[in-house]
Every structure is written in C-alpha cells, then in structure tokens.
Symmetry: C2
Amino acid sequence: MRIVRLTREAQKADTRARLIECARRVFLDNGFHAATLEQIALEAGVTKGAVYSNFDSKADLFLAVSGTRMEQRLEGYQRAGASATRVEALVREFVRIMMSHDPDGRWASVVAEAWAVAASDEPFRLALIEQSARGNAVIMRAIEDLAERAGVEFLLPMEKMDMLCVALVRGMFLQRLLDPARVTKERIEDTLIAVIHGLARPRAGSTQRRAHDEHLAPRPGGRAAARRRTHRPR
Amino acid sequence: MRIVRLTREAQKADTRARLIECARRVFLDNGFHAATLEQIALEAGVTKGAVYSNFDSKADLFLAVSGTRMEQRLEGYQRAGASATRVEALVREFVRIMMSHDPDGRWASVVAEAWAVAASDEPFRLALIEQSARGNAVIMRAIEDLAERAGVEFLLPMEKMDMLCVALVRGMFLQRLLDPARVTKERIEDTLIAVIHGLARPRAGSTQRRAHDEHLAPRPGGRAAARRRTHRPR
DNA sequence: TGTACATCAGTGAACGCGCGTTCACTGATGTAC
DNA sequence: TGTACATCAGTGAACGCGCGTTCACTGATGTAC
C-alpha cells in the first residue's frame, strides 16, 4: 500500500491546522506568555521555522487559534439560540456551551494576556477588535431572537446588552481561574440569569404585570422586532 | 545645614515605599510581564538587589503594590458609600472613583496578567485570593448600606451581588483597554446602574410598586439590615 | 513518459536579547563597654 | 565621649536560562517541454 502524497497545498493546510490545534492546547496549559513556539512546534511534529512559514508571529498564531475557537463557540450559540424559548433555558444552555469550551477560565485568562500584549501592538489590537466584532454581532442577534421569542424587551440597547454579557462572563471566568471554589458554575449561571431577568420586561403593549420571582414565560406571538443591523465597528 | 541621617528602619521603609510607588507606575505603563525589576529599581534610584532586600520576588512586589492600591480605592468607596442615598448617585460615584484609579483599564489588565501567573504559583494565588477577600468584604458592606438607605432589597444574596459587580466592572475595564472607543465611561456607568436597578426591588413589607423607568427613591426609614459578617474565605 | 528546471514548505542552527534571581561584598548605622 | 565590634540595607556583577525571530539551505512537489 503506497502512501498517497498530498499536494503541497494540502500538506501545508494540514500543518497549519495541526499547529493551530497544538497551539490551542499549549496556550491553555501555560498561558499566552508561558506558551513557547518551541513546544507548540514540537507537539505538532515540526520545527519552529514551520510556524513562521505559516504565521507571521506568535500574535498571528494566537489570532488563528482564537478565530477557530470563536467560530466553534458561535456555532453552538446559534444552534442553542434557535431552539430555546425561555430566558432561563437559553442562558443555561449558553453557560453550558461556554463551560464546555473553557471549564476553568484558562482561556479567558489567555485572552486577557493577549489583550495586554495588544495594548502595545497596534495591528494586533485592531485584529482582535475586528475578531470580537464578529462575536458581538452573533451575540446581539441571539439576544434579539431571545427577546422576540420570550416576548420581552430589554431595558438596555442591544450594544449595551452585548457588552454587559460579554464583560460579565469574562470577568466571572477570570475570577474562576483564581478561585474556583468561590466562582462555581452554578453561581455563574444564577448570576447571569438574574441579571438578564432583571433587565427584561414584558413587550410594550402587553398588559402582563412584571413577575419578579417567576421566570419570564415564553410569548411566541410577540411581534417581530425591527432588527437593526447597524453594527458599525468604530 | 547638615543632612539628618535617618535610622536604618526609616531608611528601609522609605526605599520600600519608593519601590512600591515606582513599581505601580512601571506595571501600569508596561503590564506585569513587560515591567522589569531593572526599570523599577532604576526609577526608585536603587539597584535590583534592593528589590530583593525588600521583597521576595516580583510577585511579592506586585502584591505590595496591589495591596496599597486596594486600600486607597476602598477608602474612597467607604467615603462615598457613607453619604449617598440613591442607587444611581452611589454607582456614579463608584465609577468615578474607579475611573480615577484606572482611567483606561491598564490596571485591570495588569491584575489579569498577575492572575495568569498565579495559576501556576500556588502561594501567589492564595495571597491574591486573601487580598481580594478584603475588597469583597468592603464592597458587600457598601451594597448592604446602599440597600438599607435606598429602601430596597436585592434579588441576589450579597456574595453574588459582590461577585457580579466585581466581575462586571473588571470585564468592562479589560474591554476598555482593548477598545476604548466602544467601552466609554458613560456606557460603563449606564450599564452598571441598569444592572443594579434591575436587581433591586422595594423592601419586603413596602406597598410601593416597582418603578422601572424612575430611579429608586431613597427610603431613609428602612429597617436596619441584620448584617451578617459570615465572610468565610474558603 | 521522461527530463530539466522552478518553487517553496519546512529544517536547523544561530542571533540577539533581556529577564528574574543569587551572592559575596561594602560601608553606614547601631550597640556594648 | 570614644572605641571596637556587629548588623544589615543596598551594591554590582554574574548566573542560568529561554525566548521569538531570522535565514541560508534542502529536498519533495510542481511545471514546461
């Protein structure tokens, strides 16, 4: 049985994919700074030179890893967002997805380290902003969908809802890495649910009274939201 | 005019204080990793050896800086917490204090970097947890005071309210360093106020209806909260 | 199908650099008499 | 008050280490004829 030779293009794509996968693991295990290109290359079965044949720099490799992870996570969010009709169920599903992608907050920490580096590396910073803009768009969409399906509206405009959710989750995950005993999965879940409930009220026009202690009921008949796609990354 | 010689003790305390002050500046300017003991010592007018005569390690020096900063901030919170009677006014004052201590999120970023290091340095991690426990205690106290003075109660237990506020603010400040145009002081303020309003309701026993669009009025006659000091750092 | 040359993904070694930490030593301050 | 010794904050140089990046080169793949 002869080994089928891959084309150069396929070969390179394969190496690139392996590097991204190994980089993900090494970044997670060691953090952004402590992760070395040496170890990443070693695990991928190539030399450091191969990294520079596929990426411009450590920062560029990180962007590739980060982009891949984000796509996977967003896919999960979209699937989850399409089915849930209750605020609570959706938030729980979101937390479940996030926890499965970053059980102990290590990734949140790697991202924070990368941002610290980006503070004095303008191209890197701009690339990170652009990348998160994609995530923000998906999350805003998910929140809008949820609002419509659950028959509620939120007290804050979508940009702020998005900023709030992302910042809150990131902050809690970072704290979780420092002190997992204090910041448990349940507390993260409960807190996020409470915050979102606290910012929701029945759709304008509805006569339903606000129910604080019950979960907001689904209201499938809610009128379609005028979805504004005004997402200008400035 | 003769130079008055300081005692050894005073001399050392002086050097230590200067090192902490310079370390603060260098950490802020460069981040935790990029800050070098060389530069810190240089700015303080001593050599690196003097750092090791006053601190066990870079991590230990950071703890000293962090502890000093925290004391200053907590002092501000307590002063602010003692006077405000409206949820909104207090939150605005808190944000003002935080912004004056960390205008662009750099310090939040330094802390996140330090936490990343602490993930593989157990003594450092435990010291950081202990340090933040002090902060948590003060913030919980401030929230309780606010609740009492504003005549509201919160839908989450104090530990969760504290975790929420700290995580949310940290998350937003980190995002601010990455993208200051998107995460403005006003958005941070508005978001925090909305979240806290969303989690507040009139004191049990009160017949007052929930007012979503008005700011919660002060209710100075609210009954004293049984302040539980169950702050067990586990 | 075979040959000659071009391409370029990946090699391997070197480069250039700076870091946190240690330690033998110094000299001003402190202490005992 | 003066002298002899002890202490120890801070010096300065060296240690040990590893990193991200560069680059001349190699050899398998691709292309032209």
